[in-house]
């Protein structure tokens, strides 16, 4: 059977004009005699590179990828709004593109008239619009406002009406670009129902979205684009997993880069005191949470006036923390882990002279500075004897049951009275990923038990 959409080796090159081009005027073009020359690009940007796929009839096909990966360009090529620079797009049947809802509505005239105009723009005849009119109005839930000018509509009403018209064009092929974000829950469900109805009637949908859930639940096949290059297609679950892995990888890189920058910036501070420019927490008598576990012997006055949790590094460096790494269950150091992973924080340090008064501490914080946990060797009653030369300290957590999010670490070596040797505040960042969308900070190990007449259809594999 002929596929509904056939994309063959499509490449799209956008022109990019150098700065002087933007100020190009007709006069300068005429003076230089380069009227047609100016219309040629002098710099290009390749948005799509040799992308091929085909969507069989009745198939719902998802396209995923990060921002700027070429998804929307692909959709525009399929819709025929832009022409691919190379390659070919074949579409069998009437297309309706839900790219911009309500494009072409005229604000001054009524919703009723706009439905007709929009319908005709999308390729219906006047009679066809007339036939579908009541259905459109009902779908958009606009019965009361249909004769008011469109400029008086709320943005939600505007979108609903746009969606209603586009979906009632009754296309063979529906192109959807991230439009389900509009409208309230109820409307979103209605749209999804409409999509399901499309599927039942053996029509094809090409869906571009960031909602991976939607792709997994809804699509028969998925395609992953990255920087205009096709990274694979096939089973939606597999594609989403591959894409998520890739996103984690790039997060690793950016976190590692940010950490290196922070360390370089804070390495200069070798004085014994924390940076002075830090603001005090005005009026709050609450103890700054991260201060307590690390400097447990500080007098109450100091702790109450604790510093805001700003990153930095200070200390005398009599003991110097030279290297810090966080590693997951595979033993490799990284920045992105799964919830419940076995995680080790590994510090390498040097003490130039033998030192007998030392405490190692660690604090774990959420991204917005709430202390989750803090401890040190003094609190856990290790009695220091001596540290000298190059040593290592590893803090092992057998199962770090945090919810998804970004977390930061404090690491320190100091005297029992708080005198800092090397204090690293919030310099280390890692992410915890989780497939469960639970909330809070901490996930206790748990399971559900149901008794009596409670039954579930099953549990979705997550």
């Amino acid at each position: 059977m002929k596929p509904a959409i056939d994309v063959i080796n499509v490449s799209k090159i956008y022109r990019r004009y150098a700065r002087r081009r933007q100020f190009a005027t007709l006069k300068s073009a005429l003076l230089d005699g380069s009227l047609l020359g100016d219309l040629k690009p002098d710099e290009t940007f390749q948005a799509l590179r040799n992308v091929s796929f085909s969507v069989p009839k009745g198939c719902t096909y998802g396209v995923i990828g990060s921002n700027g990966s070429g998804k929307s360009t692909l959709l525009k090529c399929v819709a025929g709004i832009t022409r691919p620079t190379e390659g070919e797009v074949k579409v069998d049947g009437r297309i309706s593109a839900l790219i911009e809802l309500g494009a072409g509505f005229h604000p001054e005239i009524s919703g009723r008239e706009n439905i007709f105009i929009n319908g005709i723009m999308l390729g219906l005849s006047k009679k066809e619009v007339q036939r579908r009119f009541d259905e459109i109005v009902e779908f958009a839930e606009m019965q009361d406002f249909i004769d008011a000018p469109v400029k008086t509509y709320s943005s939600g009403m505007y979108m609903r009406l746009g969606f209603a018209v586009a979906i009632h064009v009754d296309p063979e092929v529906l192109l959807v670009d991230e439009v389900l974000a509009v409208g309230d829950q109820g409307f979103t469900h209605k749209c999804l129902d409409k999509f399901s109805e499309f599927r039942r009637r053996n029509k094809s949908i090409l869906l571009v979205t960031h909602s991976l859930d939607l792709v997994e639940k809804f699509c028969d096949e998925a395609h992953w684009l990255d920087k205009g290059i096709s990274k694979g297609e096939g089973d939606p679950k597999k594609m989403v997993a591959a894409y998520v892995m890739n996103v984690e990888d790039s997060e690793q890189h950016s976190l590692a880069k940010a950490e290196a920058t922070r360390l370089a910036a804070s390495a200069k501070n070798v004085t014994g005191a924390p940076p002075v420019a830090e603001e005090r927490d005005p009026g709050s008598g609450v103890r700054d949470p991260e201060e307590a576990p690390l400097n447990p012997v500080d007098d109450a006055e100091t702790t109450r006036d604790g510093f805001k949790a700003t990153e930095g590094r200070w200390g005398t460096r009599e003991i110097e923390i030279t290297k810090v790494s966080i590693s997951g269950p595979d033993g490799e150091s990284g920045h992105v882990f799964q919830s419940g992973d076995d995680i080790k924080v590994h510090m390498t340090m040097t003490a130039k002279e033998p030192i007998t008064d030392f405490v190692f501490g660690l604090g774990l914080f959420t991204a917005d500075g709430v202390c989750i946990y803090g401890t040190n060797t003094n609190l856990e009653e290790f009695q220091p004897s001596e540290i000298v030369g190059e040593c290592s300290v590893t803090f092992e957590m057998d199962s770090l049951d945090l919810i998804e999010g970004t977390y930061r670490l404090d690491l320190a070596a100091h005297k029992a009275d708080g005198y800092p040797y090397d204090y690293h505040r919030l310099l280390y960042t890692f992410r915890i990923k989780s497939r469960v969308r639970d909330v809070g900070i901490y996930r206790p190990a748990h399971r559900w038990d149901f008794g009596g007449g409670i039954t579930f259809k099953g549990r979705l594999e997550t």
């Binding site: 956008y14 022109r15 190009a24 005027t25 007709l26 006069k27 073009a29 100016d38 219309l39 525009k76 819709a79 025929g80 709004i81 832009t82 022409r83 297309i95 593109a97 790219i99 911009e100 494009a103 072409g104 005229h106 001054e108 005239i109 008239e113 007709f116 105009i117 005709i120 723009m121 999308l122 005849s125 006047k126 000018p149």
Partner: protein, 264 residues
Amino acid sequence: MFSSLAKLARYRALIQTLVVRDLKARYRGSVLGFFWSFFNPALLLFIYTFVFTKVLPSSHQANMEPFALFMFCGILPWTWFSSSLLESSNTLIAGGNLIKKVLFPAEVLPIVTVLANMVHFFLGLPILAAFVLYYQRPIDSVELLWLPVIVLVQLILSTGLAFFLSALTVHFRDLKDLLGNLLTLWFFATPIIYSVEMAPADMRWWLNINPMTHLMRSYQEVLFFDGPFGHQRWLLALGAGSIVVFLAGYFVFDRLRDSFAEEV
């Protein structure tokens, strides 16, 4: 090019709807609504009559009485022409949303602009007719048959130029500003508030290469001057030229079409 030209016929319903929308939207919210289409030319006529019969009474020849009517025969179609060009230079940019986000035939937009202005021209015609009756000018009914031809020639010429302008303005935004001045110059270089005969002999040649001269002269001959229509040769030549302009304009438009979605 010709295949896309053939598609134009398929967009009839769309063009018709958009012209109606344009007309409806223009006066929506105004008290007089559609009547502005009558009042605007009437007011313009009043101003010109005042200036040229009270302030500058000796500015015209005897055969051009009543002078107000003479001017009106030119100003009415000129308004159609100049607003078509001015508006079409902006039409693709104003309709950017359609071009970028919807599968929409861009050539419809300049066509709609020209046609909407033509409807305004038609709405001005009853005023003109009223004045012709008021001054009891003899109108030759055979001569009047030329009027649709003149209108058709102007339509083809305007649309051709509108294609050029709308496509080029996407790339050269300053064309819009240039155009306003150019049209003022063009207005005075066309025998609208004077007649061809009033121009010095050595200037005639310049007037003759101005296509609008022949259009205006044709309107004036049919609607104002006595005697049979004597300008048909020029008019038909201009008609042929207009078709060339139309095709050339469409060719340029078609060539630049792919760049619209990216440049608008």
